[in-house]
């Protein structure tokens, strides 16, 4: 596929945004994105949103968001693949450009999760699992990842303390992110003493319920080269893969195959190996998820995710910084927005605009976004040219 340029990025504050509606935040992120690009043209819109139906009683976002953006005459599409809906919107926008159908393609990710009770939000999220054979039995998302955590702990000796350090690291990074929902540092004890949600995972192992939106504007590299507003950032690799929806149907409970395959495909397209990547934003919906992703993508070997985190390998000043934004844990996880927000962070880092949390001299970044218990995963590789 030909290379795609990211010429605009926009994001809203992540958090409990009581004054703002689903449409408000989606449009706000798109306006910020267009302002950032300096371009006032959109040929198509892709909106990633997991479940506006269950969270807001509102489907048909293709029309609503285009309407409130004041763009009534262009193709608008809402895409869904649970928590990878945002990554999917970016991928589809890339395909719009690659196919030559759009010159300027906008991808928006949005989720407004606080319009329902916590029980209803837990139910809505559980619809990303197999409804008849997992959720029917009362399983929750923390519960699914708790089962993966237990399997990992028993196979590799991964400890509760190692998992807690993922949360400590991401909160440290997020403390420097003004858009984060929880921009403060925590200690290992904060995690280990927090409320048990699904053994062995505690509250501070889990990403929160969040309102938020992010947007990116894409175009061809040729068109981007004529703009001089920002350093040129290009998407050079995209990989997408799926795995069984039910956790019980996986042959392996200690690796995420869709993550492994999607990363390998993206690296192959970019003509790179994982060692050529300077940093990554990954899907740490739970602390154990970051450990599984590190190992599945080959950033560290099997069973080494916990020790590598404790050793600072993935810290902001480590050899392979992971989640400089604060990740889903500290920045927040508005599910449909997350994949786009990851691209926002990678682009901002590559432009050198991440202020206190800027990683020095980064040229190549990876964004890994996944749905459900790893039933779908999309990786994007971005480079500053």
């Amino acid at each position: 596929m030909k290379e795609i340029a990211v010429i605009g990025i926009g994001i809203t504050k992540f958090g409990e945004l009581w004054e703002k509606s689903l449409r408000d935040i989606a449009v706000e992120s798109a306006m910020n994105c267009l302002d950032d690009s300096g371009i006032d043209r959109i040929d198509s819109i892709n909106i990633g949103c997991m479940s506006s139906g269950l969270f807001n009683g509102q489907e048909h976002l293709a029309s609503m968001i285009a309407d409130y953006l004041g763009r009534l005459d262009i193709p608008s599409t809402r895409v869904e693949s649970a928590c990878v809906s945002g990554g999917l919107a970016v991928r589809n926008a890339c395909l719009e450009i690659a196919a030559g159908v759009s010159d300027y393609a906008l991808a928006i990710g949005v989720e407004k999760m606080t319009d329902v009770s916590m029980g209803n939000a837990t139910y809505a999220l559980a619809t990303a699992a197999d409804q008849d054979y997992e959720a029917f039995h009362g399983i929750t998302f923390p519960g699914l990842y708790a089962m993966l955590a237990r399997a990992h702990m028993e196979r590799y000796g991964t400890t509760r303390e190692q998992m807690a350090q993922v949360s400590v690291k991401n909160h440290y990074n997020g403390s420097m992110n003004p858009n984060a929902q929880f921009p403060f540092k925590i200690t290992q004890d904060t995690v280990l003493n927090s409320t048990m949600i699904a053994d062995p995972l505690r509250l501070m192992d889990c990403s929160p319920v969040t309102d938020g939106a992010a947007a990116v504007l894409l175009t061809t590299v040729e068109k981007a080269k004529k703009l001089n507003k920002h350093p040129l950032v290009v998407i050079t690799g995209i990989g997408s893969a799926t795995d069984t929806i039910a956790l019980s149907h996986r042959k392996e409970l200690t690796e995420l195959k869709a993550v492994k395959t999607s990363a390998a495909k993206a690296l192959q397209m970019a003509g790179k190996t994982i060692n050529d990547i300077d940093f990554a934003e990954v899907h740490d919906c739970f602390t154990i998820a970051e450990i599984l992703v590190l190992e599945s993508m080959g950033i560290v070997g099997p069973g080494k995710g916990g020790p590598a985190t404790v050793d600072g390998y993935t810290a902001l000043d480590g050899k392979f910084p992971v989640n400089p934004s604060g990740g889903l844990k500290s920045k927040g996880h508005p599910v449909g927005a997350t994949g786009v927000a990851q691209i926002f962070e990678v682009v901002n880092q590559l432009r050198g605009n991440s202020e206190k949390r800027q990683i020095p001299e980064v040229k190549t970044g990876l964004a890994q976004n996944m749905g459900g218990s790893g039933g779908s995963s999309i990786c994007h590789i971005l480079e500053v040219k």
């Binding site: 039995h137 009362g138 519960g143 048990m196 699904a198």
Partner: protein, 132 residues
């Protein structure tokens, strides 16, 4: 949830009915139209024995809508003696002394009640297999 949504799953939920691929022998639960292993489309119906061992589990403390009143409860992945893996609740045991590798057996149990329709849903749950 309406009534057909539940009763169409009753072969699986009441009898643990699975399918065995006629070509490669892979067992699928629930039934599929295409074998995930060899892509064959011809199957024989079998009933799982209900016996298996616990591969991994969790204890749900924060429950979703409809399960708030029964928390805490255990949910695990059980590898059945036929090789296929099934997710289900584990009950009639001390939750804190559960461990992976425990021998379990399925029992027919009340799962949930849907308020508006009055529908009472039954399904398999797993209990410790103590040989009786």
């Amino acid at each position: 949830m309406n009534v057909p949504r539940h009763w169409r799953e009753t072969p699986e939920r009441y009898r643990m009915e699975a399918v065995k691929c006629r070509k490669c022998g892979k067992i699928s639960f629930p039934a599929r139209l295409i074998c995930p292993e060899c892509k064959n489309k011809v199957f024989d119906k079998i009933n799982l024995s209900g016996k298996g061992k616990l591969l991994t589990y969790t204890i749900i403390r924060t429950a979703p809508e409809g399960f708030e009143d029964v928390a805490p409860y255990a949910v695990g992945i059980v590898e059945m003696e036929e090789g296929v893996r099934v997710m289900g609740q584990i009950t009639d045991c001390d939750l804190l002394s559960l461990k992976t590798g425990d021998k379990l057996i399925s029992k027919f149990r009340r799962m949930n009640e849907e308020g508006k329709t009055g529908l009472i849903m039954y399904s398999y749950k797993f209990v410790p297999d103590i040989g009786i």
